[in-house]
């Protein structure tokens, strides 16, 4: 106890020292004035004191559980596998519940609320898309927003120049974004995790810079205004009606994306992605074509971003390069990381937390990105698996008499 108080106090003093010139002082160089904010010292001190205490406690607990689980890993697999099958069912019910709740939301909510929920669901689909690349295949893509931009601009430009509609733009944008994904995939095939991250980051920035500077085609930083919303079988809906319609479109997209991801996960390609993530060399040795698997991951991940790009353009009826900065990528990535890499329910939960919570806790809005950043660090340190750790599909043998099994084993050995 005394030890802890001493340690935390030292840390509190250290953080006060660190934050002093930035948090307490603010100097205006032109007016020659210094703005003192002494009260902040108190907050930093108290915050650092308690957070460091909690931090140490959880770190200790994590280390202890790591040690104790090492010895017990063998032998319990049979009992856990049944447990996990049950858990998958629980997930299914949870998903169903969320969907039903979501479906009735627009009937009770104002247009503004509906619009927030639409945004949250857009991030669910984006998260599911990035989940394919990062969560399943383990390729850290920091330029995911580029594909989102490709989708949005595809609709914006096709509509501006050729008058194409929303529904026809969706498949075009999806395919275009997917081919961009493959295009990015080809040069980075040989790169390992960290290099890959930087190159994709660079790619994302290149796309944004091109959109900003290629005035002739993209109208540059001023963007494309007046993008129409989808019409409901030719009927023009009002503003509120439009929102409700968009809501159900995105809900349908969420369901399709969820089912698709689920099916992909247990398909041949999905399993090869997991193998790729776990150990690339072993994966190659097992005869998996890693080139094909990587390109498929990039392409399919980008496909969803392209589609949501179209949706984004329709919803906000305006696209400009400003919407596609690195921070958009970072938010989508934090959804995937927070939710648990590769986990569908986790992505939904995380998108809900990260997008809805700041909307409803207005006082938090300024601190949103600060908390996102801190959450990413905390998650990686304490719970790298995310909120809902993805459960691998397991095959359970049909129940049989153990003696029979033993006999069979013996006979097959001899």
């Amino acid at each position: 106890m005394v030890e802890n108080i001493k340690k935390s106090s030292i840390i509190a003093v250290w953080f006060i020292f660190l934050s002093f010139p930035l948090v307490v002082l603010r100097v205006d160089y032109i007016d020659k004035t210094i703005d003192y904010r002494w009260h902040n010292i108190l907050w930093i001190g108290i915050g650092a004191f308690f957070i460091s205490w909690v931090w140490r406690y959880f770190l200790k607990r994590k280390n202890e559980s790591d040690k104790s689980s090492e010895g017990k890993n063998q032998g319990t697999s049979a009992s856990t596998s049944r447990f996990q099958v049950q858990k998958i069912f629980e997930h299914k019910f949870a998903l169903l519940g969320i969907l039903i709740a979501a479906a009735i939301v627009p009937q009770f909510m104002s247009t503004y609320q509906t619009s927030i929920f639409i945004t949250a669901m857009m991030y669910v689909v984006l998260g599911l898309g990035l989940n394919i690349v990062v969560g399943m295949a383990g390729l850290l893509d920091l330029g995911y927003v580029a594909f989102y931009a490709v989708g949005a601009y595809t609709y914006g430009l096709l509509n501006l120049h050729f008058g194409l509609g929303f529904w026809i733009s969706i498949p075009i944008a999806g395919v275009l974004a997917a081919s961009f994904g493959v295009l990015l995939g080809i040069p980075v095939l040989r790169l390992r995790g960290d290099y890959l991250a930087i190159v994709t980051l660079g790619f994302g920035e290149i796309v944004r810079l091109v959109l900003e500077n290629w005035d002739v085609v993209t109208r540059g930083p001023s963007g494309i205004p007046g993008i129409p919303k989808p019409a409901f079988f030719g009927v023009k809906l009002g503003f509120a009606g439009n929102m409700t319609y968009l809501f159900y479109i995105i809900l349908a997209l969420v369901v399709i994306a969820m089912v698709a991801t689920r099916r992909l996960q247990s398909s041949r390609i999905g399993r090869s992605w997991v193998a790729l993530r776990e150990d690339e060399i072993a994966c190659q040795a097992m005869g998996i074509d890693t080139t094909k698997a990587k390109l498929a991951a990039f392409g399919l991940g980008a496909f969803w971003a392209g589609i949501i790009g179209v949706f984004f353009a329709a919803k906000s009826s305006f696209v400009s390069p400003m919407s596609f900065t690195f921070f958009e990528s970072a938010i989508i990535l934090s959804i995937v990381v927070l939710g648990g890499m590769g986990s569908v329910l986790g992505v939904i939960l995380a998108a809900g937390i990260l997008i809805l919570l700041p909307e409803y806790l207005r006082f938090m809005a300024d601190y949103r990105l600060l908390i996102f950043g801190a959450l990413m660090v905390v998650m990686m340190v304490f719970k790298p698996g995310g909120l809902i750790t993805n459960i691998r599909q397991q095959y359970t043998l049909p129940k049989r008499n153990s003696k029979e099994e033993l006999a069979e084993l013996h006979s097959s050995e001899t």
Binding site: Y29, A330, S334, F372, M376
Partner: protein, 307 residues
Amino acid sequence: MQALNESGSFFLELFFSGLTRGSIYALIALGYTMVYGIIGLINFAHGEIYMIGAFVGLTVAGILSILQFNLIAILVLAALFAMVYAAAYGYTIEKVAYKPLRGSTRLAPLISAIGMSMFLREYVILAQTPDFVSFPALTEGLFDLGAFSSMIQPTELVILIFSFLMMAGLFILIKKTKIGKAMRAISQDREMAMLLGVNSDRMISLTFMIGSALAAFGAILISAHVGQINYNIGFVVGIKAFTAAVLGGIGSIPGAALGGIILGLTESFATGYVSSDYEDVFAFGILVLILIFKPAGILGKSTTEKV
């Protein structure tokens, strides 16, 4: 003749501005490369440390100029404080975000680093300002160049001289001192170095601190040259410095210096002779090309992965 002379001086102007840029990239790239060399991690928050260094420098310079210190004292103290604080931030970041992750998956420290970088940007926005603020021209009056001022500005000359001095100091530290030897030992084989009595945790902390201090030093010099800073300056510079580190061969210290200068010159000539709109595209383009054709970089050793 007149035209030739003009194009010649334009060339020299671009050359020196490229060299200046390059030496700043090199200073920051050293931080990336040292950390990568020692623990194999790309410290994504490095650009943010550079930015924090600039803000600390601004605060110190502001206070001292209100107290009416003379310009050289302000410059020295601002740089000193910025370096000390950057080192302290680097140390803390390593302890909080990277050290608990040693021995986990490859992706985890990288994501933690991105989170840290987001956190620091927002921290500066909230604690200081989201807008551009002007930075005092501390280095302007140090030299009087007279006739040469059309080719190179005095602030650029200051950057060149001091960054080369810093790099030289670092080379001596790495090659000649016991600390440098310990660092090199850890980057070759961490376990073996520990067995031979090198305190690896302390060396890793020290590496972060040195790298951060160099970045902050660069930040003060370039901010005094450009004249304004905001929370976002670390992002682009960070990526470019990383490009420089990769270009020279990540993990190699002379490589980082060389890579920085090559990148700076390329960018400067490309913006001067081709188009200034796509300035950043050139840097990213170079990065992508290098990673495709020579991932080990100019001075790096290509390693084969053993199973």
